[in-house]
Symmetry: C2
Subunit: 117 residues, 2 copies
DNA sequence: TTTATATATTTAATTAAATTATATATATAA
DNA sequence: TTATATATATAATTTAATTAAATATATAAA
Protein backbone atom coordinates (compact mmCIF):
# COMPACT_ATOMS: atom_id res chain seq x y z
CA UNK A 1 0.00 0.00 0.00
CA UNK A 2 1.28 3.42 -0.89
CA UNK A 3 -0.05 5.28 2.11
CA UNK A 4 2.12 8.35 1.62
CA UNK A 5 -0.31 9.66 -0.94
CA UNK A 6 -3.26 9.50 1.42
CA UNK A 7 -1.62 10.54 4.70
CA UNK A 8 -1.60 14.23 4.02
CA UNK A 9 -4.16 16.07 6.08
CA UNK A 10 -4.85 13.29 8.55
CA UNK A 11 -1.60 13.40 10.55
CA UNK A 12 -2.80 16.07 12.95
CA UNK A 13 -5.98 14.16 13.68
CA UNK A 14 -4.11 10.89 14.27
CA UNK A 15 -1.76 12.65 16.69
CA UNK A 16 -4.67 14.19 18.58
CA UNK A 17 -6.40 10.81 18.73
CA UNK A 18 -3.37 9.06 20.22
CA UNK A 19 -2.82 11.84 22.74
CA UNK A 20 -6.48 11.62 23.77
CA UNK A 21 -5.83 8.03 24.83
CA UNK A 22 -2.87 8.79 27.07
CA UNK A 23 -1.82 11.18 29.77
CA UNK A 24 1.27 12.08 27.77
CA UNK A 25 3.37 10.91 24.81
CA UNK A 26 6.62 12.05 23.20
CA UNK A 27 7.20 12.58 19.51
CA UNK A 28 9.19 9.47 18.77
CA UNK A 29 6.65 7.42 20.70
CA UNK A 30 3.75 8.84 18.67
CA UNK A 31 5.47 7.97 15.41
CA UNK A 32 6.31 4.46 16.62
CA UNK A 33 2.79 3.88 17.90
CA UNK A 34 1.18 4.92 14.62
CA UNK A 35 3.56 2.62 12.76
CA UNK A 36 2.70 -0.25 15.08
CA UNK A 37 -1.06 0.34 15.02
CA UNK A 38 -1.05 0.50 11.24
CA UNK A 39 1.04 -2.67 10.84
CA UNK A 40 3.90 -0.61 9.39
CA UNK A 41 1.66 1.01 6.78
CA UNK A 42 1.77 4.52 8.19
CA UNK A 43 5.12 6.06 9.06
CA UNK A 44 4.82 9.59 10.37
CA UNK A 45 7.97 11.39 9.33
CA UNK A 46 9.59 13.55 11.97
CA UNK A 47 9.77 16.45 9.56
CA UNK A 48 5.98 16.46 9.59
CA UNK A 49 5.36 15.38 13.15
CA UNK A 50 7.49 17.83 15.13
CA UNK A 51 6.26 20.96 13.34
CA UNK A 52 2.67 19.80 13.96
CA UNK A 53 3.38 19.24 17.66
CA UNK A 54 5.04 22.64 17.87
CA UNK A 55 2.11 24.34 16.21
CA UNK A 56 -0.46 22.59 18.39
CA UNK A 57 1.48 23.74 21.44
CA UNK A 58 1.53 27.32 20.16
CA UNK A 59 -2.23 27.12 19.66
CA UNK A 60 -2.72 26.04 23.25
CA UNK A 61 -3.83 22.52 22.37
CA UNK A 62 -0.83 20.83 23.98
CA UNK A 63 1.28 21.37 27.07
CA UNK A 64 4.82 19.99 27.32
CA UNK A 65 7.23 18.61 29.89
CA UNK A 66 10.90 18.04 29.04
CA UNK A 67 12.74 15.28 30.83
CA UNK A 68 16.01 13.39 30.66
CA UNK A 69 15.46 9.67 30.26
CA UNK A 70 18.50 7.37 30.02
CA UNK A 71 20.61 10.45 29.52
CA UNK A 72 18.56 11.46 26.47
CA UNK A 73 16.27 14.46 26.18
CA UNK A 74 12.61 13.69 25.84
CA UNK A 75 9.67 16.06 25.40
CA UNK A 76 6.30 14.88 26.55
CA UNK A 77 3.10 16.30 25.09
CA UNK A 78 -0.30 16.34 26.81
CA UNK A 79 -3.66 17.59 25.60
CA UNK A 80 -4.98 20.69 27.30
CA UNK A 81 -8.72 21.10 27.92
CA UNK A 82 -8.94 22.97 24.62
CA UNK A 83 -6.87 20.22 23.00
CA UNK A 84 -9.21 17.50 24.24
CA UNK A 85 -12.12 19.32 22.69
CA UNK A 86 -10.26 19.72 19.44
CA UNK A 87 -9.29 16.04 19.44
CA UNK A 88 -12.89 14.99 19.88
CA UNK A 89 -14.09 17.27 17.08
CA UNK A 90 -11.31 16.32 14.67
CA UNK A 91 -11.70 12.59 15.21
CA UNK A 92 -15.43 12.78 14.66
CA UNK A 93 -14.90 14.91 11.55
CA UNK A 94 -12.43 12.43 10.08
CA UNK A 95 -14.64 9.47 10.90
CA UNK A 96 -17.51 11.07 9.01
CA UNK A 97 -15.25 11.86 6.10
CA UNK A 98 -13.95 8.28 5.91
CA UNK A 99 -17.54 7.06 5.88
CA UNK A 100 -18.46 9.36 2.99
CA UNK A 101 -15.43 8.28 0.95
CA UNK A 102 -16.03 4.63 1.73
CA UNK A 103 -19.61 4.91 0.48
CA UNK A 104 -18.35 6.20 -2.83
CA UNK A 105 -15.66 3.55 -3.12
CA UNK A 106 -17.83 0.58 -2.30
CA UNK A 107 -20.71 1.54 -4.58
CA UNK A 108 -21.01 -1.50 -6.83
CA UNK A 109 -21.41 -1.12 -10.56
CA UNK A 110 -24.86 -2.65 -10.38
CA UNK A 111 -25.97 0.08 -8.01
CA UNK A 112 -24.72 2.95 -10.11
CA UNK A 113 -28.01 3.46 -11.91
CA UNK A 114 -29.81 3.47 -8.57
CA UNK A 115 -27.91 6.46 -7.28
CA UNK A 116 -28.56 8.50 -10.39
CA UNK A 117 -26.17 7.07 -12.98
CA UNK B 1 -17.40 18.72 8.19
CA UNK B 2 -14.27 20.36 6.91
CA UNK B 3 -13.48 17.89 4.17
CA UNK B 4 -11.00 20.12 2.37
CA UNK B 5 -8.34 19.11 4.83
CA UNK B 6 -8.73 15.41 4.15
CA UNK B 7 -9.37 15.47 0.40
CA UNK B 8 -5.77 15.83 -0.65
CA UNK B 9 -4.42 12.70 -2.24
CA UNK B 10 -7.73 10.96 -2.77
CA UNK B 11 -9.12 13.02 -5.66
CA UNK B 12 -7.37 10.96 -8.33
CA UNK B 13 -8.67 7.72 -6.85
CA UNK B 14 -12.23 9.05 -6.61
CA UNK B 15 -12.10 10.15 -10.26
CA UNK B 16 -10.81 6.75 -11.36
CA UNK B 17 -13.52 5.03 -9.33
CA UNK B 18 -16.33 7.06 -10.93
CA UNK B 19 -14.92 6.52 -14.41
CA UNK B 20 -14.71 2.79 -13.75
CA UNK B 21 -18.50 2.77 -13.27
CA UNK B 22 -19.31 4.47 -16.55
CA UNK B 23 -18.43 4.28 -20.20
CA UNK B 24 -17.51 7.97 -20.15
CA UNK B 25 -17.89 11.13 -18.06
CA UNK B 26 -16.96 14.79 -18.51
CA UNK B 27 -15.20 16.97 -15.96
CA UNK B 28 -18.13 18.99 -14.77
CA UNK B 29 -20.17 15.81 -14.45
CA UNK B 30 -17.49 14.14 -12.32
CA UNK B 31 -17.37 17.09 -9.94
CA UNK B 32 -21.18 17.22 -9.70
CA UNK B 33 -21.43 13.48 -9.12
CA UNK B 34 -18.89 13.50 -6.31
CA UNK B 35 -20.73 16.38 -4.68
CA UNK B 36 -24.01 14.51 -4.98
CA UNK B 37 -22.66 11.17 -3.75
CA UNK B 38 -21.05 12.85 -0.75
CA UNK B 39 -24.21 14.81 0.16
CA UNK B 40 -22.42 18.06 -0.67
CA UNK B 41 -19.48 17.26 1.60
CA UNK B 42 -16.90 16.82 -1.14
CA UNK B 43 -16.60 19.50 -3.81
CA UNK B 44 -13.86 18.77 -6.32
CA UNK B 45 -12.53 22.12 -7.48
CA UNK B 46 -11.94 22.46 -11.20
CA UNK B 47 -8.45 23.77 -10.59
CA UNK B 48 -7.65 20.37 -9.13
CA UNK B 49 -9.85 18.19 -11.31
CA UNK B 50 -8.88 19.27 -14.82
CA UNK B 51 -5.11 19.06 -14.27
CA UNK B 52 -5.60 15.55 -12.88
CA UNK B 53 -7.68 14.52 -15.93
CA UNK B 54 -5.07 16.03 -18.23
CA UNK B 55 -2.26 14.18 -16.48
CA UNK B 56 -4.11 10.86 -16.51
CA UNK B 57 -4.67 11.29 -20.24
CA UNK B 58 -0.97 12.00 -20.78
CA UNK B 59 -0.15 8.85 -18.86
CA UNK B 60 -2.39 6.79 -21.11
CA UNK B 61 -4.98 6.09 -18.42
CA UNK B 62 -7.76 8.02 -20.14
CA UNK B 63 -8.90 8.57 -23.69
CA UNK B 64 -11.00 11.58 -24.66
CA UNK B 65 -13.78 12.59 -27.06
CA UNK B 66 -14.74 16.22 -27.53
CA UNK B 67 -18.32 17.00 -28.49
CA UNK B 68 -20.65 19.97 -28.76
CA UNK B 69 -23.73 19.56 -26.58
CA UNK B 70 -26.37 22.33 -26.55
CA UNK B 71 -23.86 24.54 -28.29
CA UNK B 72 -21.33 24.07 -25.46
CA UNK B 73 -18.04 22.21 -25.66
CA UNK B 74 -17.81 19.06 -23.66
CA UNK B 75 -14.88 16.70 -23.23
CA UNK B 76 -15.64 13.11 -22.36
CA UNK B 77 -13.12 10.92 -20.57
CA UNK B 78 -12.99 7.11 -20.66
CA UNK B 79 -10.67 4.68 -18.94
CA UNK B 80 -8.25 2.83 -21.17
CA UNK B 81 -7.30 -0.78 -20.41
CA UNK B 82 -4.31 0.54 -18.48
CA UNK B 83 -6.61 3.02 -16.74
CA UNK B 84 -9.01 0.30 -15.68
CA UNK B 85 -6.15 -1.60 -14.08
CA UNK B 86 -4.96 1.54 -12.33
CA UNK B 87 -8.46 2.30 -11.08
CA UNK B 88 -8.79 -1.16 -9.61
CA UNK B 89 -5.42 -0.95 -7.87
CA UNK B 90 -5.95 2.58 -6.56
CA UNK B 91 -9.42 1.89 -5.21
CA UNK B 92 -8.23 -1.22 -3.42
CA UNK B 93 -5.24 0.69 -2.02
CA UNK B 94 -7.43 3.48 -0.67
CA UNK B 95 -9.94 1.04 0.79
CA UNK B 96 -7.16 -0.66 2.73
CA UNK B 97 -5.82 2.68 3.88
CA UNK B 98 -9.23 3.82 5.11
CA UNK B 99 -9.55 0.59 7.04
CA UNK B 100 -6.19 1.09 8.73
CA UNK B 101 -7.03 4.67 9.71
CA UNK B 102 -10.47 3.69 10.92
CA UNK B 103 -8.97 1.02 13.16
CA UNK B 104 -6.79 3.64 14.81
CA UNK B 105 -9.65 6.11 15.18
CA UNK B 106 -12.18 3.73 16.66
CA UNK B 107 -9.84 2.13 19.19
CA UNK B 108 -11.61 2.84 22.48
CA UNK B 109 -9.75 4.14 25.49
CA UNK B 110 -10.46 0.93 27.34
CA UNK B 111 -8.70 -1.05 24.66
CA UNK B 112 -5.59 1.08 24.61
CA UNK B 113 -3.74 -1.10 27.12
CA UNK B 114 -4.63 -4.14 25.06
CA UNK B 115 -2.84 -2.92 21.97
CA UNK B 116 0.31 -2.10 23.88
CA UNK B 117 -0.56 1.13 25.65
C1' DT C 1 -32.52 44.40 -20.21
C1' DT C 2 -29.22 43.38 -17.21
C1' DT C 3 -28.19 40.35 -13.60
C1' DA C 4 -27.53 36.15 -11.52
C1' DT C 5 -27.07 31.35 -11.87
C1' DA C 6 -25.86 27.16 -14.12
C1' DT C 7 -23.18 24.84 -17.44
C1' DA C 8 -18.40 23.84 -19.24
C1' DT C 9 -13.12 23.97 -19.78
C1' DT C 10 -8.51 25.71 -19.01
C1' DT C 11 -4.51 27.59 -16.82
C1' DA C 12 -1.60 30.79 -13.87
C1' DA C 13 -0.49 32.32 -9.19
C1' DT C 14 -0.42 31.16 -4.65
C1' DT C 15 -0.59 28.45 -0.44
C1' DA C 16 -0.40 24.50 2.64
C1' DA C 17 1.38 20.53 4.10
C1' DA C 18 3.98 17.24 3.37
C1' DT C 19 8.94 14.82 2.14
C1' DT C 20 13.77 14.84 2.16
C1' DA C 21 17.90 16.21 3.93
C1' DT C 22 20.73 17.82 7.51
C1' DA C 23 22.30 18.65 12.18
C1' DT C 24 22.92 17.15 16.83
C1' DA C 25 23.49 13.67 20.53
C1' DT C 26 23.43 9.17 23.30
C1' DA C 27 23.13 3.95 23.84
C1' DT C 28 23.78 -0.55 22.39
C1' DA C 29 24.64 -4.50 19.52
C1' DA C 30 27.37 -6.52 15.85
C1' DT D 1 34.34 1.04 14.26
C1' DT D 2 30.09 0.49 12.26
C1' DA D 3 25.36 0.09 12.13
C1' DT D 4 21.11 0.56 14.35
C1' DA D 5 17.95 2.49 17.60
C1' DT D 6 16.56 6.29 20.30
C1' DA D 7 15.32 11.33 20.42
C1' DT D 8 14.47 16.29 18.78
C1' DA D 9 14.66 20.09 15.61
C1' DT D 10 14.69 22.73 11.42
C1' DA D 11 15.85 24.21 6.54
C1' DA D 12 15.21 23.21 1.61
C1' DT D 13 12.39 21.26 -1.58
C1' DT D 14 8.40 19.13 -3.68
C1' DT D 15 3.65 18.04 -4.32
C1' DA D 16 -0.91 18.80 -4.61
C1' DA D 17 -4.12 21.37 -3.61
C1' DT D 18 -6.88 26.25 -3.50
C1' DT D 19 -7.91 30.54 -5.41
C1' DA D 20 -8.37 33.43 -9.07
C1' DA D 21 -8.84 34.71 -13.77
C1' DA D 22 -10.06 33.95 -18.56
C1' DT D 23 -13.43 32.38 -21.92
C1' DA D 24 -18.11 31.14 -23.54
C1' DT D 25 -23.21 29.73 -23.81
C1' DA D 26 -28.08 29.08 -21.83
C1' DT D 27 -31.71 30.22 -18.92
C1' DA D 28 -34.33 32.16 -15.17
C1' DA D 29 -35.26 36.12 -12.38
C1' DA D 30 -35.50 40.99 -11.21
Amino acid sequence: MNSKEYIRGIIKTLVLKLLSERKRMYGYEISSKVKELSANEIQLTYGALYPILYKLEQEGMLSTESEMVDNRARKYYSLTKKGREMAKAKVSELEQFLEVVKNILIAPKTNFEAWGG
